[in-house]
Symmetry: C2
Subunit: 268 residues, 2 copies
């Protein structure tokens, strides 16, 4: 990709300054999770973070915490931002995404320059051990992605296709697979904030037929290198219809670049 190429992610997360820390945008139906259904939460988050990014001097998202208030649908929307503190190393602010004057999500986010951090490194974990992407399967190749338009923007490659993709939940609560933007756009911290929410919830393999995010926090640990991203996801605790989902993304050089946790609700 040349830096000036227009990508679906960049086009669909763009907003126009409207003065007084307000931005106008059009939420795109290219990130729907089901036919005519709500837009992907990671996509909604990325629009808000991209507007907020313009208000702070630090180049990289470090951590974002989003609370989801209502489902997001395509069409005209607005983002309002507020900067809470701009420091030497970090800056923190918040953004609110509204559609039809109803608040869709509110997010707090802290930005930094990830290349300026120095210090100790000690990790207890290693990247997912996956066959090369070309030796893996495309879970949407057979079933297609009718209505799930996000599956046209993001490519997935997995060593085994979870049972729920074929209507037979297999009872697994973790998975490892590859992911990247279909149009070849390279990942960056804002894109990672979308991608940690871009895969089907692993609780689908426990038989859940839906999952609504209540809160999602994503930590960006390093600027990602170009190429396929290795993902590791798991749900440790589904209790009374509420579940966590932990998501890790490792870049093509084997570096952990993002980790997220969400708390979500399986609709009754």
């Amino acid at each position: 990709m040349t830096p000036t190429a227009s990508t679906v992610f960049d086009t669909d997360t763009a907003s126009t300054p409207a003065g007084e820390h307000r931005y106008a945008l059009e939420l795109s139906d290219r990130w729907a999770t089901t036919v005519g259904g709500p837009l992907n939460g990671g996509y909604l988050l990325a629009t808000a973070l991209r507007a907020l990014q313009r208000e702070v001097p630090h180049p990289d998202l470090l951590v974002a915490s989003a609370h989801y208030l209502r489902p997001g649908t395509s069409g005209p929307a607005a983002i309002t931002t507020e900067t809470a503190r701009v420091g030497r190393r970090t800056a923190t602010g918040q953004a609110t995404l509204t559609r039809q004057n109803r608040e869709i999500l509110r997010v707090l986010a802290t930005f930094t320059d990830l290349t300026q951090h120095r210090g100790a490194t000690h990790t207890s974990n290693t990247p997912p051990e996956l066959p090369a992407p070309e030796q893996c399967l495309d879970p949407f190749a057979e079933i297609g992605s009718p209505g799930t338009t996000i599956a046209q923007q993001v490519q997935y490659r997995t060593p085994r296709i979870p049972g729920f993709f074929h209507g037979t939940p297999g009872g697994t609560t973790n998975a490892e697979f590859w992911m990247r933007f279909s149009d070849g756009r390279d990942p960056d911290p804002l894109a990672l904030a979308l991608l940690v929410d871009a895969a089907a919830p692993v609780v689908f393999d426990l038989g859940a037929v839906g999952s609504s995010t209540i809160e999602l926090t994503v930590n960006i640990r390093h600027r990602p290198a170009p190429g396929w991203l290795a993902c590791r996801v798991r749900t440790d605790y589904l209790t009374n219809g509420l579940h966590d989902e932990d998501f890790e993304i490792w870049d093509s050089t084997g570096i952990l670049v993002a980790q997220s946790r969400q708390l979500a609700l399986i609709p009754e």
Copy 2:
């Protein structure tokens, strides 16, 4: 405890309504982490959440996401709150804690009635396997807690005392131990938001001599039963001086009641 008994936690997190969603309070030096040092981040968070709790109809904290902007010190402070959405099942709002007109932390939080959630349960993990508290050690018994006043409000019982407590970091990045309020106050969701941040960071056993929280998210999964709380903490990724810390709290009946993750910075 009788419900009307005054406890240190209740006294020190109380604030007085000052109109227009503002609250006044006195931050107490009983929750300091070092001599004359900053106040514990979990304590600061609990003050903000307790004020916000008054503005929403739902009785239980479900999830809180706090961004820490400056160290908190004891003395007069103010909290401002804003309700974003009040729904049937959940309500979401935000609170800002300021001291000397400088913002200390900003938090988004969603409340619910935890007893009203129904649905599937599937867990991949079990409670910490710990000897009974009376068979465990008090890590502060020998070294005392000069300046670390929080160690007077919270009791810890551990099967083995981490090396850093005696000046010899042992290189472990996980721990399991018991915790409770020293004055016998029973835990509740707001108290859990403090307690997930009340233990010494496990990165101290890697030789770190400080750790400043940037962001902390805590999910409350169940109202806790009275009694000792079994805790499990680990840091998987310390990279370039930034580290995660995952914390689980299980109640005395073996139920997961809270899980948190923080992103923190080891000062250079």
